[in-house]
Symmetry: C2
Amino acid sequence: MRSYGEFCAVAKALDAIGDRWALLIVRELMLVGACRYTDLQHGLPGVATNLLADRLRQLEKAGVVSRELAPPPIATTLFRLTPRGQDLLPVIRELGRWGAPLLSEAGGDEAFRSYWITLPLELYYYDPTPEGPPVTIEVRMGDEPMLVEAVDGKIRVRRGSAKDPDAILTGPPWLVLGLLSRRVELQDALKQGVDLQGDAKVLNRVRSTSVPESPSARTAEARPKVSRTK
Amino acid sequence: MRSYGEFCAVAKALDAIGDRWALLIVRELMLVGACRYTDLQHGLPGVATNLLADRLRQLEKAGVVSRELAPPPIATTLFRLTPRGQDLLPVIRELGRWGAPLLSEAGGDEAFRSYWITLPLELYYYDPTPEGPPVTIEVRMGDEPMLVEAVDGKIRVRRGSAKDPDAILTGPPWLVLGLLSRRVELQDALKQGVDLQGDAKVLNRVRSTSVPESPSARTAEARPKVSRTK
DNA sequence: CGGCATCCACAGTGATACTG
DNA sequence: CAGTATCACTGTGGATGCCG
């Protein structure tokens, strides 16, 4: 992409990572860690292969992504974030926080990967009962089961399934997310197609730090501005 | 732009404000407040007028920008951020924080507006001597003078010039910024074309909360990750 | 199979000119 | 002042092919 040619930190950042797909590539590498090319293609449904190759080169030149040739047993190229790339976590976090209210509607035909819920759960959620025993919830939203654990006040998310989870939550992503964020009541969720097996009380071990409202539910009151005494 | 079609908060956010120029329009409205169309053009050097019109419509539809027809004495259309648009402040802040190290080099032919320094100064800087008397520094970097005030522990920035500032700082943007962030020593700055009149000690009233390093100066040590027990 | 490069149709971009 | 209109150009997305 053409540079904005502005001497401004925001413009410079956008020069580096403002291209289409660039920040989503960063998201993937943040969530999955080291990735093969095809792993990235799987996590970025719809990306054209030439574009992915282009962006990876670009991000490499910008010092955000590094490329390494894995040793013999794997024998493939691995892409991973550099430290400078890891520094993009706050950007991803705030973008995700701002975008979260846009997920309140069904999402029907949109692409979804179960591990994407790692982002909101680990960034904005916590366990309000840190003194309680660790609990494990298996979440099934389609492509692969995920394990959500509440332990020591934190929420951890892993891929895989447990042999004996405290609860199993099955349903479409938007309902599961709505339930965990308490935008949707349990009864309503059950009516709309969520299935919950096991102990329903463990859901109380998952709390959001910032309850995202629907974007239209915002009032027009005055809010803090950066500047300008106008 | 085409939607990414992903059920992911980051992707949804980028669907709304990931287009070229969109976030820079938000930056302008955050810094300047209500803007006329031509004010935006002035603050976004190089934007094509049809693109600006397109983006404003888009941002309006996304609930980020509102358009109002100012009453008779002004009789023009004013654009301003909605509350939902103001919520983008953390995104702008983190993008700017990440991009700040990219400003360490000269910047020569790049466009610059003096009021852009409001962003870093008010977001990442503070007055380390809140009990001290208020001080005012007039900063001249080209197009218009700015007033930087340290008072009550905070840095405030306004347009305009003072009749009796404690100091006057004149020079190219990258050197002035380097000086204020302490990436550049006063002596070096003076040698490279900065002029400082008045009391040099007032510069100690401006401190950065996060000292941005040069991006290449980063080590390759391990850093916190979002996730993945790998 | 993994990691691209090439080709093509088309949507988005940028410069300029023009208008109510 | 706040755009719209036009047009050359570039970036994007989809398909396919290549090569170790």
